[in-house]
């Protein structure tokens, strides 16, 4: 049974509903029934009994959060994470839907593996969407069967972890994706420029004796892709984990030209910079790397002015033995489900004064639009009963040892944060409560 099909009713009472897609930002009760939103009404206006009630007084009630970019590591790398542990961690972070990346063992490049991801044996706690490989085995040479993958339920294609480097292959992917209304997700990195690199190229990498990835290695690929998206009718380009001011400029240009270009940013890129890595701590190593202060500022500006489409975690679990080693040899990536909302509230809402409604949008309607996730990202009547309830004022300390993920590789251990998920509801059922 899919986690979203729950036959019962739940009344969420006394909360403040923020549903940006429906333009609601007001005290509302929400009734969920048989896996869907049955009714939304001002306080105490919903009549009739519900099987269960959730007291949401003093809390924000939002559409279930959607993460466009996560690595659940199955098939093949269950020692890092499983769909069961990864989605449990996602639920603790308020995510009701997670898009899982195909860079697994083997690569999810076929209908069989897309279907495998959805089998009940995987033990998913929240809804899992497959993002399938764009090329066979993500080798960048031959496109996968987009049509079949699309029909099988994949929501997008990507070679994430690697870029689609060849101009001709990227063009082909965008053409075919355009025909099917299928987003092509690009991990923008010109790997010919980043060999042996382990952090952002700048004064700090020079000082530390680490080879650096230049901003140009990201920006040049984004620029090429945006140009292609502007030329190819109906092409849909989604730029994954955008991290540099220069790449942002290309995306802004594409959006102004009405090209179908969307992009996500991660909590770690809007929170940290290259300066934050200390003592060669590989919990600060990810790809794209933490960038310069001016890159971070450009991202904050784009979050504030509405240019950013989604916040995505790039949750990338690794076993301790893949991280506790020489910085240059350690694996790229950090976990991120459980701190995403709190970092957004702490850094974006409290420090940058970005309204809560905008932050909710970046976790809900924004990502739903990027990948056309119908019935999700809003709580209008008839939507899937996925709801995230959180306390925007609660102060707490993140303890990585208590994370529900199988892995602990992240830089926010011990951080004092504001904003905590209180309940996560998938298909009308509470799957996480604090």
């Amino acid at each position: 049974m899919s986690p979203e099909k729950h036959r019962t009713s739940l009344l969420i009472k006394g909360g403040h509903l923020i549903d940006p897609a429906a333009r609601i930002d007001a005290p509302m009760d929400v009734l969920l029934k048989d896996g869907h939103v049955a009714e939304i009404a001002p306080s105490n206006k919903i009549k009739g009994a519900a099987d269960e009630k959730l007291d949401a007084r003093g809390l924000i009630v939002a559409p279930g959060f959607i993460d466009l970019h996560a690595h659940l590591r199955e098939p093949g790398q269950a020692y890092k994470e499983t769909i069961a542990t990864g989605t449990a961690s996602a639920a603790a972070g308020g995510f009701t839907s997670v898009c899982t990346m195909p860079n697994t063992l083997p690569v999810v490049d076929s209908v069989e593996w897309v279907e495998w991801l959805r089998q009940p044996e995987r033990g998913a706690v929240v809804n899992v969407f497959a993002v399938a490989a764009a090329t066979r085995a993500s080798k960048g040479a031959t496109l996968t069967d987009f049509r079949a993958l699309h029909s099988a339920g994949a929501v997008a294609v990507t070679d994430d972890g690697k870029p689609i480097l060849e101009d001709s292959i990227m063009r082909e992917a965008l053409v075919l994706g355009g025909e099917l209304n299928f987003p092509v997700v690009q991990h923008a990195e010109d790997t010919r420029m980043t060999e042996h690199c382990s952090m952002h190229a700048g004064a700090r990498s020079f000082r530390l004796g680490l080879r650096g990835m230049t901003a140009a290695a990201e920006a040049s690929i984004v620029e090429r892709d945006v140009q292609l998206a502007m030329q190819i009718p109906n092409a849909r380009l989604h730029v994954a984990h955008l991290s540099t001011a220069d790449a942002l400029k290309s995306v802004r240009r594409g959006k102004r030209a009405k090209a179908r270009v969307t992009f996500e940013v991660t909590p770690h890129h809007f929170t940290l910079t290259e300066e934050d890595m200390r003592d060669y701590d590989s919990n600060f190593k990810m790809n794209p790397p933490l960038r310069s202060a001016s890159d971070r500022e450009a991202i904050l500006a784009a979050l504030a002015d509405g240019t950013v489409d989604a916040i995505a975690t790039d949750h990338a679990p690794h076993a301790a033995h893949e991280k506790e080693m020489e910085f240059e040899r350690a694996a790229f990536g950090i976990t991120g489900f459980e701190t995403a909302l709190a970092l957004a509230i702490t850094r974006l809402h409290r420090e940058q004064r970005i309204p809560l409604a905008r932050i909710v949008d970046l976790f809900t309607a924004g990502p739903a639009r990027c990948f056309d996730l119908r019935g999700r990202g809003s709580l209008v009547r008839g939507s899937v009963a996925n709801v995230t309830v959180f306390d925007p004022k609660r102060k707490w300390t993140f303890d990585a040892a208590k994370s529900l993920s199988k892995s602990r590789n992240m830089p926010f251990d011990g951080w004092h944060l504001t904003g905590k998920v209180v309940a996560t509801i998938v298909g009308g059922k509470i799957v996480y409560s604090a």
Partner: protein, 303 residues
């Protein structure tokens, strides 16, 4: 991070007073007059990279202080079988290492070691990052020849980008107000190098680097690390090779230093290498007392 007391991970975070204390103590060290400050102690030399000078110098220094030494090289040890850096570290601790001296091709490897293992860790060169014992022996050599750092100008010529020696030297000399001029083509001497420490300047012109200079420090062009870079060696020789004629542009009493290994005919000519102003072998010689001081400090015996 709390490395074990006595660790030497780099020059960057070392205070000037501590550097002077080390250099002063080094002057009292003499391998020909052994002092049993480290009697019965075990010094483990963990070398993941080839080394002649640094390795033999640490070994002689340790033995001159009465310590036992054990050399572990990547080749012929469990490292070759895939043992991780930390597991090797735990193993060395378990066999009773009192000090671990580590040379490693990856920047920061000694930091990772120091974070997990409560034995003093001595960085004997980590990737492109730092080579603190080299910087200290170079400072020792400079002081023996120039008496003071005051008013000195040092030119470092060559492959700064790939040089841990240059990074450590910049940090050290800058702490004493020395004017530092880095010289070479942009691929090897990026402008960003000026952010390394106060008083560091970059020039592309050898004349500019040499004018008024008291110390000329030459670096090897690290051919093995040039992967993907477009460096024309003959052009490098034409523009930057240290020749007797060029050396005349520096101060009359300028000294020539080089951390070795030297490549005659590339970064310098034989006349310069063997000339009266060269202090290249003196540096090697000074490596032993300097490293004796470093090891004594590691055991809290620098008194």
């Amino acid at each position: 991070m709390n490395p074990a007391r006595g660790s030497l991970l780099g020059i960057e975070h070392l205070e000037a007073a501590e550097i002077l204390r080390l250099l002063k103590f080094a002057r009292r060290m003499n391998p020909d007059k052994p002092r049993p400050l480290l009697k019965g102690k075990r010094v483990l030399l963990l070398f993941y990279e080839a080394s002649t000078r640094t390795r033999s110098s640490f070994e002689i220094a340790a033995k001159s202080l009465g310590a036992h030494t054990v050399l572990i090289q990547a080749m012929g040890s469990s490292i070759e079988k895939g043992e991780s850096l930390l597991d090797t570290g735990y193993t060395l601790r378990a066999v009773g290492a009192d000090i671990i001296v580590i040379r490693h091709p990856n920047a920061g490897a000694p930091y990772v070691m120091a974070q997990h293992i409560d034995v003093p860790i001595i960085n004997a060169g980590d990737g492109l990052h730092e080579h603190p014992s080299q910087a200290l022996l170079d400072a020792y050599t400079i002081l023996r020849n120039k008496k003071t750092f005051k008013g000195l100008q040092v030119a470092i010529v060559g492959d700064i980008f790939h040089s841990r020696v240059a990074r450590s030297a910049c940090h050290l000399l800058s702490k004493f107000g020395v004017k530092i001029i880095l010289c070479g083509p942009p691929e090897l001497v990026p402008d960003i190098a000026t952010t390394l420490a106060p008083g560091v300047r970059v020039t592309r012109h050898i004349e500019d680097a040499l004018r008024g200079t008291d110390v000329v420090m030459l670096l090897r062009v690290q051919k093995e690390r040039l992967a993907g870079m477009k460096i024309d060696l003959s052009e490098y020789v034409a523009r930057y090779q240290m020749t007797p004629a060029r050396l005349k542009m520096a101060k009359k009493d300028a000294i020539v230093m080089h951390p070795g290994p030297i490549i005659r005919g590339l970064e310098l000519t034989s006349e310069v290498a063997d000339g009266a102003q060269a202090r290249i072998l003196e540096e090697v010689h000074n490596g032993v007392p300097t490293r004796m001081a470093i090891l004594a400090r590691a055991m809290g015996k620098m008194r």
